[in-house]
């Protein structure tokens, strides 16, 4: 997961370029900074990062050819190893403080905090004209995602969601195959993740009632800032740094975590857009657990209408080690991946793994071998998935959108979060009105589509 570090940043370049920025649009004050200005070929971007202990550290490692100028984390211990790695970067506890003080020095921001703070932080950066690389899922609620998408458009910043598989060669190959009619019109999609019980610390989320113990907050952690817009609750080590994904208030569960990777290929190559309706079943049964964490397992069923000449699609998501029935086309002995998807067309089935259609194949293998692949029609992203951050850097410099800009990552995340909503309102077929962001047959959904922020926090 962690990438090799490139060379350390060169401060001389930074200074030169900084001087240029200050002299130009940047001087007009941080809030009106106009992005999209031209960058010289060798000019470096000044990057700040917020949430640098986990994925943020990995993202930064892919950006070391740029200037890493500021780092922010509410946990100086967890973020500390990254602070040490970039000693020239100023370090902050509060992103607002960082943006106020360093605003003029920052071109772009990487955000890799827990899901519940994506939107408030992302929005603040976008409003200040910063380009943003925001981890997936884009935000914690559908409303937040919509607002971020619109804000990125309005403020003309370059955006990239952290679903790095979208930069892969495999997802482009899949697109070309589907365009080529490799498996005919696709009417069914099945996707699955072994999370929240994947078997390692990244993939195991707790399924539990709210902890009752109230241990002391570690000195290194600013708990209030960690909570951000979420409702106040006492600190407990279960939430931070690893397990927040499992809690409704902070994470988006297995679907939010992995759906942006695993559903990305189908969403893109089938141009799925907004579903008409979605329904979920889950294993929740104990009210105090069901109110606190995501379920041990869930099945979410989406129905997408016809798009152009593409027929309606039924998409089913499984997590918690539930799987679709074994496809007839899959040879005995051939293993289903722990995270993956099946696209079922009239003339065949395609199976792929996670992170952008990894290992994409037509099944069975005889049909794959017999397939006359079309010529490459889509340009590839340099370095594929591994080049996802650099594709964003490229976009910041040349002004052409990154591979998974919010124009794409936003609708993808909305679709994913609609499934999360269905899990929350399990056993109810939700009829979705995407224009008004409204479940037309369930008013209870409103409070999850647009949650109330804690006092002092706004989007």
């Amino acid at each position: 997961m962690m990438r090799e570090t490139d060379t350390m940043t060169d401060s001389k370049n930074t200074l030169t370029r900084r001087a240029f920025v200050r002299g130009a649009a940047g001087a007009m004050a941080g809030l009106t900074f106009v992005p999209g200005r031209a960058f010289g070929a060798n000019e470096r971007l000044n990057i700040a990062a917020i949430g640098v202990g986990g994925m943020g550290a990995a993202n930064l490692n892919a950006c070391t050819a740029e200037n890493i100028v500021a780092l922010c984390d509410v946990d100086s211990e967890y973020g500390g190893k990254t602070f040490k790695k970039f000693p020239q970067a100023k370090t902050y506890l509060d992103y607002r403080d960082m943006l106020d003080k360093e605003g003029k020095n920052i071109d772009a921001v990487i955000i890799a905090t827990p899901d519940h703070t994506h939107a408030t932080i992302g929005m603040e950066c976008i409003r200040r004209g910063k380009h943003v690389y925001l981890q997936k899922p884009l935000a914690h609620s559908i409303f937040e995602v919509r607002m971020l998408t619109e804000a990125a458009r309005k403020h003309k910043v370059q955006s990239q969601m952290g679903n790095q598989g979208h930069s892969s060669d495999a997802i482009r190959m899949l697109y070309e195959w589907i365009q080529d009619g490799a498996i005919g019109p696709v009417r069914e999609v099945y996707a699955w993740s072994d999370r929240p019980v994947g078997g390692d610390p990244w993939s195991d989320f707790p399924i539990m009632a709210r902890p009752k113990e109230t241990p002391a907050v570690p000195q290194s952690l600013d708990w209030d800032r960690w909570l951000g817009p979420a409702a106040y609750r006492p600190y407990h080590p279960i939430y931070h740094p690893m397990s927040w994904r499992g809690f409704w208030d902070f994470g988006t569960g297995a679907l939010g975590d992995m759906g942006c990777h695993i559903l990305d290929p189908a969403f893109w190559v089938l141009n799925l857009g907004h579903p008409e309706r979605v329904e979920a079943v889950t294993t929740h049964y104990i009210p105090e657990v069901a109110a606190e964490t995501y379920p041990r397992a869930s099945v979410v069923r989406y129905e997408f209408p016809a798009r152009g000449d593409m027929p309606p699609v039924k998409l089913t998501w499984f997590d918690g080690r539930l799987l679709p029935p074994r496809p007839k086309a899959l040879e005995p002995g051939r293993k289903l991946p722990g995270n993956g998807a099946l696209l079922v067309g009239d003339k065949g089935t395609i199976m792929h793994g996670s992170h952008g259609a990894g290992g994409v194949r037509i099944i069975p293998e005889t049909q794959m071998k017999a397939y006359n692949r079309p010529a490459q029609s889509l340009p590839r992203v340099k370095d594929g998935s591994g080049g996802h951050e650099r594709d964003w850097i490229r976009a910041c410099k040349d002004g052409k959108p990154a591979s998974s800009s919010f124009e794409y990552g936003g609708p993808l995340t909305e679709m994913v979060l609609l499934g999360v909503l269905a899990m929350r309102l399990k056993d109810t077929m939700l009829e979705w009105d995407p224009v008004n962001m409204k479940v037309t047959n369930c008013d209870e959904a409103d409070k999850y589509i647009r949650p109330v922020f804690r006092e002092g926090w706004t989007l």
């Binding site: 019980v197 329904e279 294993t283 041990r296 293993k335 289903l336 399990k426």
Partner: protein
């Protein structure tokens, strides 16, 4: 053998009648269906604290002559109801001492004891009513069905729904071609639901540490029976009722409900052994069944009937809501969905409801039941075999249901990501995964045999 059995039956019938006359007080008899004592049969119950007590209440037109339970506290209510019945803790002792007084045995213990008790009764020529699922392992169900056939005794499994009007309507509707060929069936239940109310039980949990003092009223060794010994733990960990969740004692949600809900499917579609079974489930350990699972069986063509895929879901999982189901109509957390070439049925009604109303009632082809328990009594007295008798129906049904649990075994889970389990009924084994075959049967604790 059969002749011998029959003549012994005749003799036993006579003997029992005498016993009944002398043993059974008048006050436990009576009611509308009152029959003269000379025609009554003498019934013993084993495992009477829960469902067994309910079963006996349905058989009160007969003589309840002996009661056996390893937990006398749990059994107290049933003991009180039949004050003249002899009380036992060990079914073997009861069968020895009451051999001449007992015609039939009702077995309603935890699943892991069903086969051993039923077999012991059958070997003595007793008629047997055994709760569902018939047994704890696939092989036990096969052997029990064979033994019942050989002994010629009257048998009935406790899946009461088999006698219902709804099961008959379903069969007749499908046989009438109302939905064409049926190729896909979905069955689902919200069990086990981990103890949200007292009728449900924990799954997906580990064995508790430590042990509690065994209550005086409980014979833990007998409760464990053929299973590996383990320390007693109270707090409703194993007993009563919640044994269902443990691999060693129960058969999970599938075993509990499968014999009810698959019964109608087997009858309507005339199913036999499947060709394959596969499954997925939430995390599962060697102690308890998983919280939720999906099991998929493939059945081959039978005569003119198309192959069938049967999907089982538990733990709150469900199939997709069919488009034919009217908006606003409940998509229940327990149900059966039959998908035919020309229509769909939920439980026993065509959907949408106007289709059912238009269709009306199918031509009646199946004889109506005199009642599930009565069927057994009638068979007992030389009449028609009961609807869920072991040799013709329940044995196979239980085998297929329990096969699904093999596909959930934790030791096979990784392999099951790469294949289905292919079953060969002739050889009575899985052909592609030899390590799965050990789960068709089980080892009994020393001192216990089938």
């Amino acid at each position: 053998m059969k002749d011998k059995t029959l003549s012994r039956r005749d003799f036993m019938g006579a003997a029992a009648a005498i016993g009944a006359f002398t043993v059974v007080p008048r006050h436990v008899l009576g009611g509308a269906g009152h029959t003269p004592p000379s025609e009554k049969i003498n019934i013993a119950g084993v495992g009477i604290g829960g469902q067994g007590g309910s079963d006996l209440r349905q058989l009160e037109s007969q003589n309840i002559v002996a009661l056996c339970d390893v937990d006398w506290r749990h059994a107290a209510r049933c003991f009180d109801r039949y004050p003249n019945a002899k009380k036992y803790k060990d079914f073997r002792e009861m069968l020895d001492k009451e051999d001449k007084n007992i015609d039939g045995v009702v077995v309603a213990t935890p699943d892991h004891l069903h086969a051993i008790i039923s077999m012991a009764a059958i070997k003595r020529g007793k008629h047997v009513y055994c709760e569902k699922p018939l047994t704890h392992t696939v092989r036990e169900a096969k052997l029990l069905a064979e033994a019942a056939r050989e002994a010629g005794v009257a048998t009935q499994m406790g899946n009461q729904g088999q006698a219902s009007e709804q099961t008959r309507l379903l069969c007749e509707t499908i046989w009438d071609g109302a939905i064409g060929q049926v190729r896909e069936v979905h069955i689902w239940t919200d069990r086990p639901l981990n103890g949200i109310n007292k009728w449900y039980w924990p799954q997906g949990v580990d064995r508790p540490q430590g042990q509690d003092p065994i209550p005086d009223t409980l014979d833990w060794d007998l409760w464990i029976g053929p299973a590996p010994m383990r320390p007693y733990v109270g707090k409703r960990t194993y007993n009563p009722f919640v044994w269902r969740g443990w691999w060693d004692f129960g058969t999970g949600a599938l075993g509990d409900i499968g014999c009810h809900s698959m019964d109608a499917v087997f009858r309507a579609l005339k199913l036999g052994y499947p060709t394959s079974v596969e499954a997925c489930c939430t995390l599962v350990n060697d102690e308890t069944y998983p919280v939720a699972s999906r099991v998929t069986y493939e059945f081959p063509a039978r005569g003119d009937l198309a192959p069938v895929t049967l999907h089982w879901y538990d733990g709150g999982m469900k199939p997709p809501r069919p488009a034919e189901l009217e908006d606003g109509r409940m998509w229940d957390t327990n149900g059966k969905l039959y998908i035919g070439d020309k229509g769909k049925i939920i439980d026993y009604r065509l959907i949408p409801e106007p289709r059912q109303r238009e269709y009306g009632k199918p031509p009646q082809k199946v004889e109506r039941s005199p009642g599930h328990y009565n069927e057994w009594v009638i068979a007992f007295k030389g009449g028609k075999p009961a609807g869920s008798n072991f040799p013709d129906h329940a044995g196979l049904l239980a085998q297929v249901v329990l096969m699904g649990n093999i596909a959930l075994r934790p030791a096979l889970k990784n392999k099951m990501l790469s294949t289905k389990l292919y079953f060969d009924a002739e050889q009575f084994k899985f052909t592609n995964l030899p390590e799965a075959n050990q789960y068709l049967t089980k080892e009994y604790r020393e001192g216990w045999t089938l």
